[in-house]
Amino acid sequence: MSEVVNVPTMAEMMAQGKQPEVLFWVGCAGSFDDRAKKITKAFVRILNRANVEFAVLGTEESCTGDPAKRAGNEFLFQMQAMMNIEVLNAYEAKKIVTACPHCFNTLKNEYPDLGGTYEVVHHTEFLKSLLDSGRLTIEGGQFKGKRITFHDPCYLGRANNIYEAPRDLIQKLDAELVEMKRSRANGLCCGAGGAQMFKDAEPGNKEVNIERTEDALETKPEIIAAGCPFCNTMMTDGVKAKEQEANVKVMDIAELIANAQDL
């Protein structure tokens, strides 16, 4: 894989007097989590390939506050939100793309009331628009005929009614999209939302991610596609717990597209 070549920051753009076409909100997972960083890089390689003029906030980005808000800490959420909004508004950000459905939901739905109104899109929607407008073309060669099942992230699906963009992308790869028994609006959570990612589960008889991984494995997939770094972690752990990691990969949609492109 070729290395990432070009990741301009908003500060650099501003110094050149330029406004990027889209601001890429990397998110905490995308910035720090080893697995999620690979998704970030895959997405950037696609943006570079499609000649999208984008920029990141870099060290000026901070947590959107989503896990704090879902944990009940409205103070911390609003402090994070207002700091981020100050930065975003200072750069006159118009359009934001992010590969994290939690950042996506918070930026899109919860920032406007606090003074931050932007056009916010999830990276699967953005990638689809690149394909639709012909700025990006993919040949599915590598994934042709592969069985891929898609796990709907709650914060993309039920929370924001986006079900088709990721599926359209999988189909563009000439892959065989197989649906789990619970999908789209009926999709089962991976277990990470609502700040669960950062705590142990309450006593029960099973972990949620195992239950969901079983749904996915029932479809006998070669790849479990995800559209959220947290779902990715949960499903990856689930596949490991089921000792299927030799047979089943968990990949983000951006990674599928980047791999198909040999990026």
Binding site: F32, T40, P67, R70, M82, N109, L188, C189
Partner: protein
């Protein structure tokens, strides 16, 4: 003496409706214990929701068997109630089947009521079997142990009795049977003169007629004490439901004010705050029903305990204590308790050392939620258990600092370095140069 029936009927009718009015008054008083939230924006979208979801049952049919059976009972309930209008006129004015002058059309009406009555009986039998014989998981779970189970069965028995009385009333009405129009079902139940004397037939017909209308009035008044209020409240509940994307949680305005003050470089932190003598000390989040908003309380009264939420909840499916249905049932039970407290204390709530939090809903239940919105998606009448869970978490965290340790660590990280993990914000772009 002639009018004694009519007078008796009027008294029963007025008593039944009067008692119902009293219940409605109490119900609205309790719902208004919640704080205000504006849900009157976008009226056309709200009417549409009500038409599609409450009237059109669009979310019920997501589970086709229950959805289909429910539509039968629902249509039966609404349509057969047209018959009640005739009963009321007959009862008040001493007429007999006052709409019979409609002729053939009357036959079509009553005939369709009779068919529906039989279909309702079949559907109710199926419901009873699902609850008591097959014992579907969502009906057999611990949420429903005791009173709620009895309540659910009572409602089914009520419906059986009401539908049977309607058919018997028609079957034993000789004049109606003589019309031979619309007695599609009741003709098979009509009394044989060999078995029943004319006197017995008349007594049975009158008894069925009276018990039918009295039964309806009792059922109307049973609603407030049962989980069955949804037949009325589904309509306002879907109208006033949150129209935003499900992922959007409200931003607490009280917090916004404080955060803005904190972040304003020109604000004088030592300046005396204007003192409002009447100001109620603010409370962040909810520990009791009065801290919830009125729509959340309306939600609690609307819930009919079908358990679709709980059966789709990832926490519940994996054995955690959380059950979104129980959240709604607890909220209602506590609200009833608070309402009775107010009634017993001349209109003022006297603290009873109890609260929705801990006495009804435990922190363990609240922390098990993944905020996945499956419960909200599933609810056939757009109830949001999630909004109550979040408001109660807010109380736990902002008023009591009672989050699980690991969440406190996560929040400390966000506060100190802008990420839920312990990484330096200055390292945010390091991924760019890593292999």
């Amino acid at each position: 003496m002639m009018y004694i029936d009519n007078i008796l009927f009027a008294i029963i009718l007025i008593a039944g409706i009067g008692f119902f009015a009293k219940n409605v008054k109490e119900l609205t008083r309790n719902i208004n214990l919640g704080h205000d939230v504006n849900r009157t924006d976008h009226p056309s979208a709200r009417w549409k929701n009500m038409a599609m979801i409450a009237l059109g049952q669009s979310k019920m049919v997501k589970r086709p068997i229950a959805g289909f059976l429910h539509i039968i009972v629902y249509v039966g309930f609404i349509i057969i109630n047209l018959e009640v209008l005739e009963i009321i006129i007959d009862g008040l004015f001493g007429t007999h089947r006052v709409f019979a002058f409609l002729g053939g059309f009357y036959g079509v009406l009553i005939g369709s009521f009779e068919v529906l009555a039989v279909l309702v009986l079949v559907a109710v039998a199926a419901f009873w079997i699902r609850r008591n014989v097959i014992q579907l998981k969502r009906f057999a779970s611990s949420d429903l142990k005791g009173a709620p189970k009895k309540d659910a069965d009572t409602i089914l028995y009520f419906e059986v009795v009401l539908m049977s009385l309607f058919l018997i009333m028609n079957a034993f009405d000789l004049k109606f049977q003589d019309m031979n129009s619309g007695n599609i079902i009741s003709q098979f139940l009509a009394p044989s003169p060999d078995v029943f004397s004319l006197e017995a037939v008349i007594i049975i017909e009158r008894a069925a007629w009276w018990f039918h209308i009295i039964g309806i009035l009792i059922f109307l008044n049973y609603l407030y004490y049962s989980k069955h209020l949804h037949i009325l409240l589904a309509f306002p509940n879907t109208y006033f439901a949150d129209l935003n994307a499900k992922g959007k949680l409200d931003n607490l305005e009280s917090v916004t004010k404080e955060v803005k003050l904190m972040m304003d470089p020109n604000a004088d932190p030592f300046a005396a705050q204007p003192v409002d003598e009447n100001a109620v000390p603010g409370k962040f989040g909810a520990s009791d029903v009065q801290d919830l908003n009125w729509v959340q309380l309306l939600n609690a009264y609307t819930c009919t305990e079908c358990g679709r939420c709980t059966s789709s909840c990832p926490a519940n499916q994996t054995g955690k204590k959380l059950s979104p249905r129980k959240i709604m049932m607890d909220t209602r039970d506590r609200l009833e308790e608070v309402g009775k407290n107010i009634d017993a204390n001349k209109g003022v709530f006297v603290p009873d050392n109890k609260s929705l939090l801990n006495d009804y809903i435990t922190a363990e239940e609240l922390w098990a939620c993944t905020s996945c919105n499956a419960c909200v998606e599933e609810c056939p009448v757009n109830i949001s258990p999630l909004s109550i869970i979040i408001d109660m978490r807010r109380y736990l965290v902002m008023e009591q600092s009672a989050a699980p340790q690991s969440l406190n660590a996560m929040m400390a990280n966000i506060e100190n370095n802008g990420a839920p993990w312990q990484y330096n914000q200055q390292d945010r772009l390091n991924w760019k140069d890593e292999n």
